[in-house]
Symmetry: C2
Subunit: 389 residues, 2 copies
C-alpha cells in the first residue's frame, strides 16, 4: 500500500481578506507550492479536492473547476467536497485515499470560504443549516445555542464550570497572539474573557469563534516521490472519519461526539499511534466547550476530565503532554468554514517541520493531529501526521 | 490493486416526485440494496459519497450526513460531492478510488436533486451558475444559449443541420418510451420534434432536457466480496475525469469538450477498452448538440461526423455498433442534476446484467460507458463497466 506524504502547505491570512475567491485561492496555492523545497508546480497535479460550504454569496457555481483553472491546474480532475465545517477535512481524507488508490501521485486538498461578503442573515443561515434544521434551527435554536445546551449539560454531568471554558479561550488567544495568519490576535486575560458579552448562556463572546475569510491548501504525494520534493516530508500516518445524527435529541449523549470518537479511533488504529504520543493537536474549537469535548473524545483526557484538563493548563504550548491548538484554533486563528480543515493541516505541517518562529514552535514536535467537525458533530474527519513514516 | 464491482443499483422515478429529499434518497437506497442478489444492508456500508448541487431549496445543510442517517448507514464516513451536473459522476469516481485505496470494502455512491420545489428563477440560477458566471451568465447568456452557440458553430464547421439534432431527440424519446423510471415518456415524431417551440435558436423544446426530481445510488464492493453478493457483478473497469475552462471563449474549440476527451482517454486506458468495444453508452445529452459532441469526443464517431452518426441512426438501440442513451438519456429519462451521473450507472448495471425488459434491453450487452458533464463542459467523469473483470 502506498504511503502518503505532505510536501507543501500554505494558506492566506484568516480574517477579513481583501481578495475574492479566485485571489484567495491563488494565494493559498502559491504559498503551498512555494513551500515545497524542490520544484513543484500546479501543472503537475493529478487530482484536486476543494472544500467549501457557501463560497460566500459569490453567485459562482462549478467553483472547483473555476478555482483550479485560475491556479494553473489546467485540465485536472477536481471536485468540491461539502460537509459543513468539515468540508476540507474530508477533502484531505479523499485526497489521501486517492493517492493510496494508486490513481494519482500528486494531489491537492484545500478549502476556501468568503464569509465577509455575506450579510449577517446569510452567515447565520449557512452556519445554522450545518446543524439540524427540522428539529432545531426552524424551532429557533441557533448554532451558539446548540453548544450552550452542550455546555450546560457538561456542567451538570461533571465537576466543571464556565471558568474552565474561559481557560480554553485564554489559552487559544495566547497561542494565536504571535500567529501572523490568525484572525483575532488579542491578548485576552482571564478577567476579560470571564466578563464577555453574553451570546447564548453560558457562552459569551470569548467562547465563540469568529467567522473568517480564508483559503488553505496542502500538497500530498505518493511515497516514491516524497524525497524528490523535500528532505523533510510530513507523513499522513492515518485518516479516519465518521458521522452522527444531526439532531442533538437523537444522540445518546450531549457531552460526547460519536463522530469524533469513530474518526479518531480509525485514525489512531491506521497510524498505529496512541493519544499520548500526540505532541500537538489542532482541534475544532468552534466554541470553547467543543474543545473540552474534543480533548476527551480524542483521548487526551478521561471522560468528564476535559474541564479539569483546561483548568490545569494541560493543553498550553509546551506545558503538558500535548499542545492543543498551537495555532490559536478556530477561536483566535479564525474559522473560514470550508478552509478550516486543511488550515489545521497547514499548521501541523509547519510545526512538524520545526519551521514555526519562536515562541510559537512546539518543542520536539514529532506527531500531530487534526480534528475537523461538521455542524454540531454530524460529521468529523481526523488525521494523524508524523515526521517518521 | 483491488478491482471494484458494482453489486447493486437503484433509483427513483425521475420527474415530479411526490417525496422530499429524505424520502427520495431512502427509496433509491432501498431499491439499490434490494437489487443485490444476496443479503446486503445499508449498515454494512463503510463509506458514502452523495452528489448534489442545490438540494432543491430545502433549507437543509450537512445533507450528506442527514441522508445517510435516514437510510440506515449509521456512523458512516460520508460527504457531499458537488461538481455541477457531474456531481454524482465524481461521487462514483471517488467511491471507486476509495475501494481501490484499500480503506473500504463496501461503498455507496449516489446523487439526489429536488428541482420541482425550486421556483423558475432558482432553477435558472442553479443551472446558470454551473456555466461561467463572470463572462457569460451575468452578461445574459443562459444555459440553453450556451449550447445554442455550440450548435451554431458546429453547423458552421461541419456538414450538419438542425435535422441531425432532431434525430437525437427522436431516438432518445423512442428509447425512453418504455423506461418506467423516465420523466418524459412521449412518442415524438420527427415532424413534431422539428417544429418545437424555439428556446434558444437553433435549439427548440425538443433539444432541451427537462429538469427533474430524482435520486440514484449504486453499491460498489471490493473484488474479494463481489461473489458473496451476486453471481453477476458488474465490474467498474475504468474511471477517468478531467476539467476545462468554464468560459467558452477561453477554450480552443467550441465543438469539442476537452474535459470529455481527457476523462474518456483515461477511462479507456485504465479499462484497456477501445471505443468500438462499447455496447451501450449513457451520455450527457443535456441538449441534443451535447450528445453529438459526446459521440465524437468519446470516439464513437470521427471529428465532425457526430451529426451524420445521428442522421444515420447509428446510436439507435441494437441498430449500430453502440446504443447511445438506451435509457432515454437526459432528454427523455430526465435530468435531476446531481442524481444524473449515478442514474446513468443504474441503467448500465441493469443492461449489462440483461435484466431490462423488452424492448429496452440492448442485445448482448457486455461493456457499457457512462459520461457525465458538469456545466457547459468544465468538468467530466467517464466510467467503463463490464460483465468481465
Amino acid at each position: 500500500m502506498v504511503d502518503v506524504a505532505m510536501v507543501g502547505a500554505g494558506q492566506t491570512k484568516f480574517g477579513n481578506h481583501p481578495l475574492g475567491l479566485k485571489g484567495m485561492w491563488s494565494e493559498a496555492i502559491e504559498k503551498a507550492f512555494s513551500s515545497v523545497d524542490n520544484d513543484c508546480l500546479p501543472s503537475m497535479v493529478d487530482e484536486a479536492f476543494i472544500g467549501s460550504i457557501a463560497f460566500g454569496g459569490s453567485q459562482l457555481g462549478n467553483t472547483a473547476a473555476l478555482l483550479t483553472e485560475h491556479s494553473g491546474m489546467d485540465g485536472v480532475s477536481v471536485r468540491r467536497v461539502e460537509n459543513a465545517c468539515a468540508s476540507s477535512g474530508f477533502a484531505l481524507r479523499d485526497a489521501w485515499m486517492t493517492i493510496k488508490s494508486g490513481q494519482a501521485d500528486i494531489v491537492v486538498a484545500g478549502g476556501i470560504e468568503k464569509m465577509n461578503d455575506l450579510s449577517a442573515e446569510r452567515k447565520r443561515y449557512w452556519l445554522g443549516v450545518s446543524g439540524d434544521t427540522e428539529w432545531e434551527r426552524l424551532a429557533g435554536l441557533t448554532f451558539p445555542g446548540t453548544y450552550a445546551l452542550t455546555a450546560r449539560r457538561y456542567f451538570h454531568e461533571f465537576e466543571s464550570t464556565h471558568d474552565d471554558l474561559v481557560h480554553v479561550s485564554v489559552k487559544n488567544h495566547m497561542h494565536g497572539l504571535d500567529n501572523e495568519v490568525a484572525h483575532l490576535r488579542k491578548d485576552v486575560s482571564f478577567e476579560k474573557a470571564s466578563s464577555g458579552a453574553m451570546v447564548a448562556d453560558p457562552l459569551t463572546l470569548y467562547d465563540c469563534c469568529p467567522t473568517s475569510d480564508g483559503a488553505s491548501a496542502v500538497i500530498l504525494v505518493a511515497d516514491h516521490l516524497a524525497h524528490q520534493f523535500t528532505d523533510t516530508p510530513i507523513w499522513v500516518k492515518g485518516s479516519g472519519a465518521g458521522s452522527d445524527k444531526l439532531a442533538l435529541h437523537d444522540r445518546p449523549s450531549l457531552t460526547q461526539l460519536r463522530a469524533t470518537q469513530l474518526a479518531s479511533q480509525k485514525a489512531y488504529s491506521i497510524a498505529n499511534v496512541q493519544p499520548n504520543q500526540i505532541d500537538l493537536a489542532e482541534v475544532h474549537d468552534c466554541f470553547t466547550i467543543a474543545e473540552v469535548l474534543a480533548t476527551e473524545d480524542l483521548g487526551f483526557a478521561g471522560r468528564g476530565e476535559g474541564g479539569l484538563f483546561a483548568r490545569n493548563g494541560q493543553g498550553r504550548r509546551n506545558e503538558g503532554n500535548v499542545t492543543i491548538n498551537a495555532s490559536g484554533g478556530l477561536k483566535s486563528k479564525g474559522h473560514p468554514l470550508g478552509a478550516t480543515g486543511t488550515g489545521q493541516a497547514v499548521e501541523v505541517f509547519k510545526q512538524l517541520r520545526h519551521q514555526v518562529e519562536a515562541p510559537r514552535q512546539v518543542r520536539d514536535a514529532e506527531i500531530g493531529l487534526t480534528h475537523n467537525v461538521g455542524g454540531s458533530g454530524a460529521t468529523c474527519a481526523v488525521h494523524i501526521f508524523g515526521r517518521e513514516r
